[in-house]
Each structure stands twice: as C-alpha cells, then as structure tokens.
C-alpha cells in the first residue's frame, strides 16, 4: 500500500489524466483478481473522516467543503475507493503515505492526575503560533509533535492519558480524508447522523432488521412505500442486486429518490424500479382504475408539490444538472441532499419557464411523448400490482401506517413477510389491532433494537454510546390466505366470539386513504 500511495503522489503531480492509464496498468499487475472499483467522475462518492460522512458528486473543479476544509476532488479521480488523502495547501488532494509512528525513546509518564492543575496555561504555543505553523505548510504529524513538546503537563499524564491526548490532537490537526464507495451501511449511517429528520429517524440497525425480516433478496417483487428520501428503496435495490422488481408507492406527485442516486447503481437496476401513486390505490383496488386523469394535471401538480423531486426517468440527468448550479460559498457545510432538493425545485422552475417561453410544436410533441411514457409506465405498474402476488411489503413513512397497510396488503401474496417502520410506537399498536381485526396476517411482532458500540483497547474496554428509543420501531408479520368468514387468529376463547357486523364494515372502509394523517409537524 505504501508503494502504491507513493506512486499515486508522483502520478497526481504530473496530472490525473495521463497518470490514470499507467496507474491502472500497474494496479492490474500488482493486484489479484478483482481489483477494487475506482473513483470515477460523475459518480457519487462518500467522504469520510473518522465517524463523519458526507456524500458528494465527483466533479472536476468543484470546491468541496468538508469538516472545515476546502478542496477539489480532481486528483482523487482514478484512485481506488478506500484511499486516504490529505489536503494540501492548494486545496488539492494527495494520497497519503503510511507514516511510521514516531516512538519516543523514554515514555515519561505519571501515575495519576492528582497534581495536574487545569488552568488552561499548560500549552505554550499560542493560537497564532499554531496558525503560523499551519501556514508554513507543516504536516499535521509535525504540529502534533510540536504541541506535545510545548505542553508542560504532558509528561505528568498517565500513558493512557497521553494516548488520548495524542489521538485528540491528531483528530484536530492531522486532517485525512478517505473516499469510500457508497453502500447501504455508509449511507444509512450518514443520513442518521446528518439528516435524521429526512429519514424519519430510521437508525441503520433498524433498517438492517427490515431488510432481513422482509426477506429482501434477488428475484422478489417488492412493494415499498417510504418517505425516507429514497434510502429505503436504495437499500432494497442493493439487496436485490438488479434481479426482481420493486414498485415504489408514493404520496403526492412523484417519488423522492435523492438518496437512491447516491448508491451508484448501474442503469439496468432502474429498469425494474416502478412507481405508483398512492392516490390511485383505492381506484385500483375497486377496479375503477384509469389513466384518464393523468395528463397536464399530473405534470402541473408535480411542479407545485414540495415533495416531488424529479421524476424517475429524469432522475439521473437532473442530478448532474443540479450539481452544476452550486450554491455560493457559505461557511456552513450544506448537506448534499439538501442542495439537490433545492436545486431540483429550481431546475423545475426553470423548466417550467422554459416551457412557457419556447411554446412551439416541438415542445408540445415532446411533452406529449413524455406524458405517454409516464402513462405507459403507470399502466405497467398497475398491471404488476393487480396481479396481487407481491413477495413482500416494506413501509417506512411519516404517515400513519394503518391505512397504508390495510390497503397495500391487498397486493401481497399469502405466506409473505411484511415490515412496517414507524418512528413512534403508538401508531404501530393501533396498526396491530386493526390488522388482527382484518385477519390474513400472523406472527405479528412489534420490536425495537438497541445498539451499543464499544471502545476496545487493552485495559480500557468499555461501552461508548447506547442508542435506544431513537431508532424507531418495527411491526412485522406474515400474510396468510385471507379468510373472508370469521377471524383467523389463534384458537383462543376470547376471539371465537362474533364481532358485531357493523364494526366489520367500518373496519373495511377505514382502509381508504382519506385518512392519511401526518405525524410529524
């Protein structure tokens, strides 16, 4: 790895363009079968520093702000994912060499902190001194060494405290960035840390449970209803590997897939990704579905709805376009998805104006063609749904799950798992009751997972952080053949009695989507 990093440093100095081919040849010679994927322009990559992640589009001459540092990604293009870089003074990235840990000859250390007084004066270097060092271009490693030298209390600290001090200073001054390939693990961790509101506080371990409980695998026909910026759809797509099909149900004018584009799936994955509006589900179930209502009404609604974020077929190109119109340099780090959504709405506004201005026949024909495409896709999705043989259902949205489940379960074949996520427990309790009344489901389970990570160091192992309650709840179950007669729950006494017939009617009607209640403000 060291030799490759050195190579990389030399190559990048001579320019990323020509260096790439030579580098690749060498890489191929050196590495065994299955060399790692490379950072390509136009893809989405994730920057990582310690535990902080940020997804960015890899574009040349685009300034990136990440962890209080500004740089360009140009030199990173062509390197293998997982390479660690450091930011040079010019704002360029350079692959980092592996440096030997400088071991001090005699590790002078104290035994405890009884005599260490925290008066804030133990560091002799001032803020200006450190700034001067940084401006001189001195590497982070060196700065840390200087800080240690100029600390009066360093040698009185215990060995563990010294380690902790060095780690802390390194974290601050030794700025290294790793570029990693996006995956469910990375994107779900990133979203939970940066934008939990966008994903309804779905913690990554809860997402992991959903994928397994739902038996998500290649070849399934999944129905997914989510308002998690497309993260859940992306995770399902990753686990299906392009095989099978997914029908995403969406509220409003169009599905939001900001996160899905971050995964970097190949194009053919999207040919099996369908979408269907929730507003049409009732008509589909009652058999009165038609595409008559679609035309301009649908398109206009799509521009106005704050939820819609571009349509499926324009998704890929719109991501590229919107990245071009970057936001001005603000001090705060702006999340890439926020940018995308803001930009998409702007792009749509521009599109709208353009359509008005260039009102000639070409455009009208184009519009009609697109509408026809959309209608065709809608009919396809409707056909897939009406077969009523979906292999599973995943729901993860901000809406109350009960009406969603009661209607969407109709499309699922018997003996298939379904999983519902909700940020809160109470709606799921209600859902449970309604499902039992409906029948046709067994093995209902309401669960929550707690996550705890540990620091494991010799003589210093202890738990770090316990995450509980904030990761959401899951209701899972298995469908069975729906018995239109009596309730098909367990053979308990209490449940053998007949329910009053009026209640049963009310139950069926409540499956209407008129009762979509928004939970979060």
């Amino acid at each position: 790895m060291r030799s490759r990093a050195a190579e990389g440093a030399r190559r990048s100095a001579s320019g990323a363009g020509s260096g790439r081919e030579e580098e690749e040849e060498e890489e191929e010679a050196v590495m065994a079968a299955g060399h790692g994927p490379r950072i390509c322009e136009g893809e989405c990559a994730v920057l990582k520093r310690g535990d902080v992640f940020k997804a960015v589009a890899v574009l040349r001459r685009r300034k990136i702000i990440f962890e209080k540092q500004w740089f360009y990604l140009d030199n990173a293009i062509g390197h293998v994912y997982g390479t660690t870089f450091e930011v040079t003074s010019g704002g360029n990235l350079q692959p980092r060499r592996e440096v030997e840990e400088t071991t001090t000859e005699t590790k002078e250390a104290g035994t405890d902190n009884r005599n260490i007084v925290d008066d804030g004066k133990s560091q002799k270097l001032t803020h200006d001194d450190i700034k001067a060092l940084k401006d001189k271009g001195i590497k982070g490693q060196e700065i840390v060494q200087q800080l240690i030298k100029n600390s009066t209390t360093f040698r009185d600290k215990t060995e563990f405290a010294q380690d902790k001090y060095i780690k802390k200073k390194k974290k601050k001054y030794d700025a290294v960035i790793t570029i990693v390939k996006p995956s469910t693990r990375i994107l779900s961790t990133m979203y939970y840390a940066r934008e939990p509101g966008k994903i309804n506080h779905l913690r990554y371990d809860t997402l992991a449970q959903m994928l397994t409980l739902g038996n998500i695998r290649a070849g399934n026909k999944m129905i997914v209803m989510e308002t998690c910026a497309g993260l859940v759809v992306g995770a399902v797509m990753e686990r299906m590997g392009g095989y099978g099909s997914i029908i995403q149900m969406y509220p409003g004018g169009g599905p939001v897939r900001a996160a899905t584009s971050c995964f970097g799936f190949p194009k053919h994955f999207f040919s099996n990704l369908h979408e269907f509006p929730l507003s049409k589900v009732d008509s589909l179930l009652s058999g009165m579905f038609s595409t008559e209502m679609l035309p301009s009404e649908f398109e206009d609604n799509a521009l106005v709805e704050e939820e819609s974020n571009g349509l499926a077929d324009e998704k890929q190109t719109s991501v590229q376009e919107t990245e071009e119109e970057s936001i001005t340099a603000t001090a705060m780090e702006v999340n890439q998805t926020e940018e995308q959504e803001k930009m998409d709405i702007n792009a749509e506004d521009i599109e709208f104006k353009d359509n008005k201005e260039k009102d000639n026949k070409e455009n009208v024909r184009e519009k009609q063609r697109k509408q026809w495409e959309r209608r065709k896709k809608l009919i396809e999705a409707a056909a897939l749904l009406t077969e009523k043989n979906a292999d599973g259902l995943i729901v993860a949205s901000k809406f109350h799950p009960t009406p969603l489940l009661l209607s969407l379960l109709e499309f699922v074949a018997p003996s298939r798992p379904f999983v519902v996520y909700c940020q809160y427990k109470e709606p799921l309790l209600e859902c449970y009751t309604k499902l039992r009344e409906r029948g046709g489901v067994i093995n209902l389970k309401l669960s929550e997972t707690w996550l705890r990570n540990y620091q494991v160091l010799p003589d210093r192992s202890h738990p770090k952080l316990t995450m509980s309650g904030g990761g959401g709840y899951l209701l899972s179950g298995i469908t069975v053949v729906l018995d239109k007669g009596k309730s098909d729950s367990s053979n308990l006494e209490a449940l053998k009695m007949e329910e009053p017939s009026s209640k049963r009617c009310k139950c069926m009607c409540s499956a209407g989507l008129a009762q979509l209640w928004l939970l979060s403000a």
């Binding site: 590495m31 790692g36 994928l211 449970y432 707690w450 192992s461 069975v480």
Partner: protein, 305 residues
C-alpha cells in the same frame, strides 16, 4: 419451493413451516403418504398439503387449524434443530448490513454450526454469489451439506470439514467478507486475511466474551485491518400489543353483554420474560418489566486496507 426463491404451491419434497399459533411452529418435510401429528390433530400430507397454496389454512383431524408457510431463512432460524448455539435474526441482520453483503458477494464463514447464519447468507448472495463455510465437526458438516441439498441451495455453498485456525477457508484472495463465530477467532485472523480479496474486504467476528473481543481486535490490528468497530445489538419485543388487543375485545364484549366495564380485571402490562442468550448482559435480570430478548453479541468489523 427453495430457500432462495418463492414458490406458490406446496410440492412433494418441500420443507414447509407449520404455524399453530403465537410463537408455536415447526418445520415439516412434505412427503406423499406421510402424516404429521399436531395438538389440533393429524395433517395428512397427500390430502392436506400437496397442491395447496402456501399460506393456506389447513384443518386438522381434531377440528383445529394451522397455517402452512413458505420457508424463509428467518423462519428456519426460529425452527431449525439446534446442534449448536445459533445466531438469531437480530444479529444476522446487522452482520449482513455491516459486511455489505448483496447478490454476487463471496463470503467465508466459520463455524457452520447448525446452519442458521449460513441459510441467511446464502439467501443474500444468491444467485451469483457463493458461501464457503468451514466446520471442524464431521457430523455437523455432513448434516449441513444434507440440509443445503434438501433446501435446494447446494450450488451456492461449499462446506469444508477442517479447522479454520489451522487450515483456513480453502480459498484465497476472493472473499468480499469473512465471518467468524469460533472460540478463538484471533487464531483465524491470518487465514481470514488470506481468504479476503486484496483490497476492501470486510471481516466480522462474533464473541460472547469481552476478553475474546479484546484479543480479536488486537489480532485484527496486527494484520493490518482498519476501522475496527465493536457493536452490540439487543432486540426488545413488545408484548403489550397482545394485551391491548385482548383488552379491547373484553371491553367490547362487556358492552355487548351489557356488563359493567369494571369487570375487566386484566391490566395491560406485558409478560416478564427475559431470555439471556449468548449471555454477556447478566445484569439485565428478571427485574425487567418488559420482555427483553437480549442478544448479547460483540463483534468487531473491519476493512482490509
């Protein structure tokens, strides 16, 4: 039927799951002419099972009924015959996500044990991936091979009967991920590294004891793994739902029978049932007022750099 693909109707030779009620189910091998005894009566395979749709209700001879379900790795985990302590779906989920497994992945696993995790891994890497699993106990290895064959997944898995700490996984430089669930994982880290692909492979080791975790983390560092993380995941199941549902029916029944509502004496609090499994969290004793299925599992996952 197969564990990697759904089928619609029950066929001769299938493995199906018989569901009797809340947390009561068992697997059954469907065969012409055989019968299965349940507490609700007899199920005759030829008449009641073969040709029926999965998810159907089957009435048994005594009048009660059961549901016949299509097998999935999760149902299998809850119902398989234990030959060793197994991994449950909670841990399996987080392992699958942290190792970034998906169709096409190559995974190495040791020890196979009762095949709980193996079935889940095969399901995830199908149809283009492969699982290389190593088990040092000869009978268990043989039983695992037999089960994979019965479940229609033998083309996706290779069971090797050897000691992973001495002889490794039998493959080199191809695995995307390695999983270890053995008494001394630090002895197998070197072999794991050899099996993993040159760059970007991930490893996970699962141990109940913190001392094992410590030694394994040290070994991982020595062999050049980076980003070593140790996680523990616990599942908490809420049983209040059941009580809430029953309570509502009792209330409704009181209304119908015109009895005063104060006759409902059952209060809505869940059963206290604590299952300590892989028991590190002995402190979470039976004083808990909620059901806790404590899956106390430490595992470090790392990347090869």
């Amino acid at each position: 039927m197969s564990f990697i693909e759904y089928g619609d109707t029950i066929k001769d030779g299938d493995t199906a799951i018989v569901f009797l009620g809340h947390e009561s189910m068992f697997p059954v091998k469907v065969q012409h002419g055989t019968v299965t005894q349940t507490k609700y009566g007899v199920i005759r395979h030829s008449m009641d099972l073969i040709g029926k749709k999965y998810g159907s209700k089957v009435t048994c001879s005594k009048g009660g009924w059961v549901f016949i379900l299509h097998p999935t790795p999760e149902l299998w985990t809850m119902n398989l015959p234990h030959r060793t302590q197994i991994l449950y779906s909670t841990d399996i989920s987080i392992i699958t996500m942290m190792l970034e497994l998906k169709p096409g992945s190559i995974v190495c696993e040791s020890g196979t044990g009762s095949g709980s995790l193996s079935h889940a891994l095969i399901r995830t890497v199908a149809p283009t991936g492969h699982l290389y699993t190593v088990e040092f106990h000869q009978q268990r290895a043989e039983k695992a091979r037999e089960e994979f064959r019965e479940h229609g997944v033998e083309h996706l898995v290779t069971v090797t009967n050897q000691d992973v700490c001495k002889n490794g996984f039998g493959v080199s430089n191809i695995a995307d991920a390695v999983f270890l669930d053995i008494p001394s994982p630090w002895e197998a880290i070197g072999h794991a590294k050899a099996a993993l692909k040159a760059e970007g492979g991930r490893i996970c080791s699962f141990s109940p004891c913190i001392e094992q975790v410590q030694r394994t983390c040290l070994a991982m560092e020595e062999y050049g793994f980076t980003e070593i993380n140790t996680l523990e995941i616990l599942l908490r199941v809420y049983n209040e739902c059941e009580s809430a549902y029953l309570l509502r029916f009792r209330y409704e029944s009181c209304k119908v029978m015109r009895l005063p509502a104060w006759l409902i004496t059952e209060s809505v609090f869940p059963w206290s049932r604590v299952q300590l499994h892989r028991g590190l969290l002995a402190a979470l004793g039976s004083t808990a007022s909620y059901s806790v299925l404590a899956s106390a599992n430490h595992f470090g996952y790392t990347e090869v750099k």
